[in-house]
C-alpha cells in the first residue's frame, strides 16, 4: 500500500500521540492497580477517580529544574533519554495493528525490532556513564549486561517463531497464525516454550520487575537515572511505559495471533459481508488493543506480586537456564517443522 509521504507522516504522528497517551493511561493504571493490590485507593484527587494524575505529573516535570551533574558530559547526558524514547516509539511503526494497517511493513521487520531493542542498550549505558556518579555507572553497567544477556534468548525465541512462519515479516507471521481451528493456529499453542521464553525475556529487556535490577532502590538508589531530574527523568519514565506497552503488542503479534479475532475464520464464514470491510478493521483494532492491554496488565500485575531477583540469580537464569532452553527449543521446533511438512 503506497501512501503519499504526508499521509505516512500524519499516521506516524497519530501513532506517536497514541503511544504518549497510552503511556499516561498505563502510569495511571499502574498506580491504581498497585493501590488496590496493597489495599489502598491509589491516586484519587486530580480529576474524576484521579484520572488526570499522570497529566499533572507531566506538568510538574516540565516545571522542574534540569540539573546536569558536575563533570558530566552534557551532550551525552541529554542524548541518552532522547534515545530511549525515540527507540521505544520507533518500534511502534512496525506493529501491524490490523490487516493492512501498519506504518512500516518491510520484509525484515522482526529483525528491525530486535535491532531497535539492541540499540536501546546504549540509552542505559550512556546515561550511566555520562552522569559521572558511581551509582549511575554501576546501574548502567548492570542494566546493559542484563539486557544483552536476555537479548540472546529473546533472539532465539523469535527465531523459533520465524522457523514456523518461514518469514521475517511481522504481517506474514500474523497471517501464518490464521490456520488451525480458531485459536489453535496461534503460536502459543504451536510453540509454547518459545512463548514463555519470549515473555520472560521481554520483562528483562524492558527492565520491569522482577528484573528491575538497574533501579534497585535499596542498593543502587535510582540506578542509571540517579542523576536525572525534571523532564529528562520523565523521558526515562515515558520510555519505560512505552516500552512495555510495545512489548505487549509484540508478544501478542508473535504468539497470540496479533490483530486476529479469536475464531476469525468461523466468524468470517458466518458473516461473509465482513470480509475486507471497514468493520473488520475496527474489530481487529479492538482485538489487538484488548490483547495488548491484557499483557500490559500482566506486566503491572507481576511487578506488584513478585520480589526482585538478586543479580547473581538474574545472570544465572539468563545464561544457564534460558539460553540452553532457547537453543533446545529452537532445534525442537525445527524438528517439528520438518516432521509436519
Amino acid at each position: 500500500m503506497e501512501l503519499a509521504w504526508y499521509w505516512t507522516a500524519l499516521i506516524a504522528f497519530v501513532i506517536v500521540q497514541f503511544l504518549l497517551i497510552s503511556a499516561s493511561v498505563l502510569v495511571y493504571a499502574e498506580r491504581k492497580v498497585s493501590g488496590y493490590m496493597q489495599n489502598r485507593p491509589g491516586p484519587n484527587r486530580v480529576g474524576p477517580f484521579g484520572f488526570l494524575q499522570p497529566f499533572a505529573d507531566v506538568v510538574k516535570l516540565v516545571f522542574k529544574e534540569n540539573i546536569v551533574p558536575v563533570l558530566a558530559n552534557p551532550f551525552v547526558h541529554s542524548l541518552a533519554p532522547m534515545l530511549m524514547v525515540v527507540i521505544a516509539m520507533g518500534a511502534g511503526a512496525l506493529i501491524p495493528f490490523a490487516h493492512n494497517v501498519v506504518i512500516a511493513d518491510m520484509d525484515v521487520s522482526v529483525l528491525v525490532l530486535l535491532a531497535l531493542t539492541s540499540i536501546s542498550v546504549y540509552g542505559v549505558t550512556l546515561a550511566g556513564w555520562s552522569s559521572n556518579s558511581k551509582y549511575s555507572l554501576l546501574g548502567g553497567l548492570r542494566s546493559s549486561a542484563q539486557m544483552i544477556s536476555y537479548e540472546l534468548s529473546m533472539g532465539l525465541a523469535v527465531l523459533s517463531v520465524v522457523l514456523i512462519a518461514g518469514s521475517l515479516s511481522l504481517t506474514e507471521i500474523v497471517e501464518d497464525q490464521a490456520g488451525g481451528w480458531g485459536l489453535l493456529g496461534w503460536n502459543i499453542f504451536r510453540n509454547p516454550i518459545g512463548a514463555i521464553l519470549f515473555i520472560v525475556t521481554a520483562f528483562a529487556e524492558t527492565n520491569r520487575a522482577p528484573f528491575d535490577l538497574p533501579e534497585a532502590e535499596q542498593e543502587l538508589v535510582g540506578g542509571y537515572h540517579t542523576e536525572y531530574s525534571g523532564m529528562k527523568f520523565g523521558m526515562f519514565f515515558l520510555a519505560e511505559y512505552v516500552n512495555f506497552f510495545i512489548a505487549s503488542f509484540v508478544i501478542v503479534t508473535l504468539f497470540f495471533g496479533g490483530y486476529m479475532l479469536p475464531f476469525e475464520s468461523v466468524l468470517l464464514g458466518a458473516f461473509p459481508a465482513l470480509v475486507d470491510s471497514l468493520w473488520l478493521t475496527v474489530l481487529q483494532l479492538g482485538t489487538i488493543l484488548v490483547k495488548a492491554g491484557f499483557f500490559a496488565f500482566v506486566f503491572i500485575w507481576v511487578r506488584w506480586t513478585l520480589p526482585r531477583f538478586k543479580y547473581t540469580q538474574l545472570m544465572t537464569l539468563g545464561w544457564k537456564y534460558l539460553l540452553p532452553i532457547a537453543l533446545a527449543n529452537m532445534l525442537l521446533v525445527a524438528l517439528g517443522v520438518a516432521l509436519l511438512s
Binding site: M106, A115, S118, Y122, T125, L126, S144
Partner: protein, 169 residues
C-alpha cells in the same frame, strides 16, 4: 533518484563519522562517532535494497560489538586524551589532496587496464542481500567454512574466559 541523493548524504555522513572518531579526544565520543558511521554503512546497504544485510549490520556492529567497546572504555576508565599536539591544517589538506589524486590516478589506470569489476544492476544486488539467497550459499555451498566460523566463535569464547580468569592456569 532519491536513492542516489541518499547515497551521497549517507556517504558524506559516514566519512564525517569516521573522521570524528579519529579526531575526538574522548573515547566515548569516539565510540559514538563510530556508531554513527556504522549506521550510515547500514543505510548504504539499504540503498542497494539489501535489507537483511543492513539490519544485520545494525544488529551485530551497532548492537553488539560497539556495546563491548563501550564496556571496555568504561572498564578501563579511559580518560580523555590530553591535547597532544594541535592539528596542522596545512598537513591535513595536503594529505586529503594527495589521497584524492592517488585514487583518481589509480582509477584511471585500473579502468584503462580493464580490471574494474562490472557494476551490477540494483536487482542483482538486492537478490544477493536477502535472507533466502544468503541461506542457500551459507548452508549448502559454503557449509564447511560455515562450520569453521563456528569453531572460530568457540575459540573466541574460550579465549575470553581465559583472559578474564583471576589466576593464570
Amino acid at each position: 533518484m532519491a536513492a542516489q541523493i541518499l547515497f551521497f548524504v549517507l556517504a558524506t555522513v559516514a566519512i564525517a563519522g569516521a573522521l570524528g572518531m579519529l579526531v575526538s579526544r574522548n573515547p566515548v565520543n569516539s565510540a559514538l562517532w563510530l556508531i554513527l558511521n556504522l549506521f550510515c554503512v547500514a543505510g548504504l546497504y539499504l540503498t542497494l535494497n539489501a535489507t537483511f544485510i543492513a539490519v544485520i549490520q545494525v544488529l551485530v556492529y551497532a548492537g553488539a560489538i560497539m556495546v563491548l567497546f563501550l564496556f571496555v572504555i568504561m572498564l578501563l576508565n579511559l580518560a580523555a586524551l590530553p591535547d597532544v599536539r594541535r592539528f596542522e591544517w596545512r598537513k591535513g589538506v595536503a594529505y586529503v589532496l594527495s589521497m584524492g589524486l592517488l585514487s583518481m590516478l589509480s582509477f584511471v589506470v585500473a579502468s584503462s587496464l580493464g580490471v574494474l569489476p562490472e557494476p551490477q544492476s540494483l536487482q542483482a544486488a538486492a537478490d544477493s542481500g536477502t535472507a533466502n539467497t544468503l541461506a542457500k550459499s551459507l548452508f549448502v555451498e559454503f557449509a564447511l567454512p560455515f562450520e569453521m566460523i563456528g569453531i572460530l566463535l568457540l575459540a573466541a569464547t574460550i579465549g575470553a574466559v581465559m583472559l578474564s580468569k583471576r589466576k593464570p592456569v
